[in-house]
């Protein structure tokens, strides 16, 4: 089974039924997989703060939401995380591609990578880092934890986890 199928299986098993996505090359496989699942309402967003608004609404409407996005989005969503997701105490699993780590071919991606963990730490967002494929074995527990504590939780997934960048 592909790692993308396994991740989405875990989301479905934990009852996640509303996922918004903003694409990243590294996340293409998992986004394709989300799109195939009838259990999940997949709603692509144009920007990640918009996606967090959709997730906040879906949560209040009775769904279990999640967002899939790139780490550059941390720069876009700090205010939304603080004044919406955290202030109203809402759960939000964030599956994040961690661009700018080892095997990264695009130098500019490193510029946000160096801030990513510091920003998440400053925001007091519980953060997990998937580097090896076996790290994803913790995903079901991370999802349970997120909906237990009603907080945004970050799952950083780097290039090594996804198997590099193909022919780039």
């Amino acid at each position: 089974m592909s790692i993308s199928s396994k991740i989405v299986d875990d989301f479905v098993a934990e009852g996640v039924d509303f996922i918004t996505t903003v694409p990243c090359k590294q996340l293409a496989g998992v986004i394709d997989e989300v799109d195939t699942r009838p259990e999940i309402y997949h709603i692509p967003s144009n920007k990640e703060d918009e996606g967090m608004g959709l997730c906040a609404g879906a949560f209040m409407g009775g769904k279990k939401p999640a967002i899939i996005m790139q780490n550059t989005a941390i720069g876009v969503t700090i205010n939304t995380l603080a004044t919406l997701t955290q202030y109203y105490r809402m759960p939000l699993p964030m599956l994040i591609s961690y661009r700018g780590e080892l095997r990264e071919p695009v130098a500019c991606q490193v510029e946000m990578a160096v801030h990513t963990k510091a920003l998440l730490s400053q925001m007091l967002i519980p953060t997990y880092h998937f580097h090896k494929e076996s790290d994803a074995d913790e995903l079901p527990e991370i999802l349970k934890y997120t909906f237990m504590c009603n907080k945004p939780v970050a799952i950083l997934t780097d290039a090594s986890f996804w198997g590099g960048y193909g022919d780039q």
């Binding site: 920007k47 959709l54 949560f59 009775g62 769904k63 004044t83 919406l84």
Partner: protein, 184 residues
Amino acid sequence: MIRSEILREIAPILRDHLVVCNIGIPSQELHAIDDQPTNFYMLGTMGLASSIGLGVALAQPKPVIAIDGDGSVLTNMGTLPTIANNVANNFILMIIDNGSYGSTGDQPTYTGKKTSLAKVAEACGCERVIECQDVDTGRVLQEALDSGEMTIMVVKCDSGNAKMPVITMDPVIIRDRFMKSVQA
């Protein structure tokens, strides 16, 4: 009419429905005019009332009215294609378009100049878009509810704010009572 006069007039319609209200003075006005557990007041996060409202509408069957502003929609313009392409027939986006950023001192927005949010919404693919004048808001809102179709309302009105107290209710209480109203 200014926004608070419109809200006062449509309060009897809003009272029976789930309402997501825009940040700042709009929420303060609605809270002061007719606080209801079915109202979700945004205390921060400019621009996301329409996104939150759409999320609530997609998640459950009750009608949802998002009260937004021209300045806030301009902040989150990407919301309109998302709304158009994820049709929720229990969703009404009511944009109170007074051509100004009301909560920050009535600085003019571009909708008071060349930009038409109704045309933008139509170009984004929204199918039921109604621009109306302030005095017609109640009638158009009721028609939108009765239509059973997703509707984008652009309500043209005067710029100005009523002096209302800041909302001091805890955000978790606002969220909790709103969620209980959804489930009721």
